[in-house]
């Protein structure tokens, strides 16, 4: 009986190929989301606090919560292009407005959930200063740089620039601002001492031991910092409603406030 080793080899290859294709298809087709799971898209600055709130909700309600953190802009674009989010919590109203105009969210579920403050921070231990039109930020910086998030693009940077402008400080420091792609990266620059000072959220400053808060910017020096939350169009069910309710509950409020947020919804 004649055996053809080449023929055997090719059969083996075909078998392998078939297995491989099967495996790849299984991986691609897997993962219809379990029925009792909520997917939340949330701004990166919420991470520490929202992780804790989500854990609390899971324990209380028994539903799984998956949170995807990124910049609000990236998340809003993903949602526009059909990402399977149930709830979106944005770090500024502009992106939520855009989704509302496009009919992507359920307008009646939209709430102003949280507020935040921006602060001037310094590397290590710094002397507190009076933040106002009377300070001379340019002189305080000396040769150093001022770390901020992108001042035309990222909410923390936009608020910071508005505050510095209204206090008459922007012109003096404009050329010395280093802009990071997100506010946590700006925080890091101050923490490692590459920039002696920075402008970040109060909640960020509280999360980093390497920096000290020199002072809070007056609330009227910049547009109010608001984090709106809403359910996505066609995804409102009892579970999502329960989650939105939990975000406004006393338990969630305690966590958010402990991390430095102001709770706006009641």
């Amino acid at each position: 009986m004649r055996t053809d080793p080449w023929c055997q080899y090719s059969v083996g290859m075909m078998g392998l190929l078939r297995q491989y294709v099967g495996l790849a298809l299984a991986a691609l087709l897997a993962g219809p989301v379990a029925a009792d799971e909520i997917t939340v898209f949330a701004a990166a600055s919420l991470k520490t606090a929202l992780d804790e709130v989500a854990d609390g909700f899971e324990a209380a309600a028994g539903h799984e919560v998956t949170v995807s953190y990124a910049g609000s802009s990236a998340l809003a674009r993903q949602i526009e292009l059909g990402a399977p989010a149930d709830v979106f919590i944005s770090a500024n109203p502009d992106w939520m407005d855009r989704l509302e105009e496009a009919g992507t969210i359920e307008p009646e579920t939209r709430i102003d959930l949280l507020g935040n403050r921006i602060v001037l921070i310094a590397h290590g231990q710094g002397e507190p200063v009076e933040i106002g039109a009377g300070m001379d930020l340019g002189a305080m910086l000396g040769e150093g740089r001022l770390a901020m998030a992108l001042v035309d693009a990222v909410p923390a940077g936009i608020y910071g620039k508005a505050a510095l402008e209204s206090l008459g400080q922007w012109q003096a420091v404009e050329g010395r601002v280093v802009q990071s792609d997100n506010v946590r990266a700006a925080l890091k620059l101050v923490a490692i001492g590459e920039a002696p000072m920075g402008v970040v959220y109060a909640t960020d400053a509280a999360a980093e031991a390497g920096v000290s808060v020199l002072g809070e910017f007056p609330e009227d020096s910049h547009p109010p910092i608001v984090y709106p939350a809403a359910a996505m169009n066609g995804r409102v069910g009892p579970m999502v409603a329960e989650f939105l309710g939990y975000l406004q509950s006393g338990a969630a409020r305690e966590v958010f406030e402990r991390h430095g947020f102001t709770v706006l919804a009641d």
């Binding site: 674009r77 280093v178 990266a185 490692i192």
Partner: protein, 230 residues
């Protein structure tokens, strides 16, 4: 290109400048490293090989952060360099450094392959005829590996044009100083309604990348023809 705003044009010009210098400065170092890895045997060779390839494997953000810790004004190397007036942090030179480091492994790989393809007997023949080692390299090896060197340089230039993660982490995003083409695209995409300028910059980068690629094909083919003919 009248349809590019001043800030967009600035980003394109800066990216070209950064990539040009990154490639130019990295090239001699890349040829040397490739030659050492291909031809020499020395203790710690695998460690050097690993270090050269590290930027290819590490997340770009990590590479940028390590650059910031090392070459920042408070870093060990950056602090020393600052005393002689060389500053990388938050300058376009830092963007070029980041781009060069990220592009280095690609450059070395391409050049190393072409060196390994050269028959060592040719070099030995030149050496037995009395040519010093450096002269052998310049007159025998270098012309033979020229297509590989060009391919490596073009690859490095293309990588430098597209480098984003290490750049924004190391030198942040300062318009006119460190805002390269990818950083500008990223910044535009953060703003509602920024799609227009972002798309224009994307078209520019595609045109530059395709142009560089075509150019490298033409140059490499000519160089190969000349080596074969000579």
């Amino acid at each position: 290109m009248a349809w590019l705003g001043p800030e967009e044009w600035q980003a394109v010009a800066l990216s070209l400048k950064v990539s040009f210098w990154a490639t130019l400065v990295a090239l001699p170092l890349g040829i040397f490293t490739a030659y050492a890895l291909a031809r020499w045997r020395f203790p710690g060779k695998q460690v050097v090989n690993g270090l050269v390839h590290l930027p290819l494997i590490l997340p770009p953000v990590v590479t940028g952060y390590l650059l910031l810790l090392t070459f920042g004004t408070t870093g060990p190397v950056g602090g020393l360099l600052e005393q002689v007036g060389i500053v990388f942090a938050f300058r376009w030179t830092g963007a070029a450094l980041a781009a060069g480091v990220m592009a280095f492994p690609l450059m070395v790989r391409a050049i190393r392959l072409s060196i390994e393809a050269v028959d060592p007997k040719l070099e030995e023949a030149a050496a037995t005829l009395g040519a010093p080692r450096a002269w052998v390299f310049v007159t025998v090896t270098l012309p033979l590996i020229l297509p590989g060197v060009l391919a490596g340089a073009i690859l490095a230039f293309a990588k430098a044009m597209g480098e984003f993660g290490a750049t924004i982490t190391f030198v942040s995003n300062i318009p006119g100083q460190t805002q390269t083409l990818p950083s500008a695209v990223y910044a535009f995409l953060q703003v509602p309604g920024g799609e227009g300028p972002a798309m224009r910059l994307v078209i520019v980068s595609v045109v530059i990348a395709m142009g560089a690629l075509l150019l490298s094909e033409v140059v490499a083919r000519r160089a190969a023809a000349r080596v074969a003919g000579g």
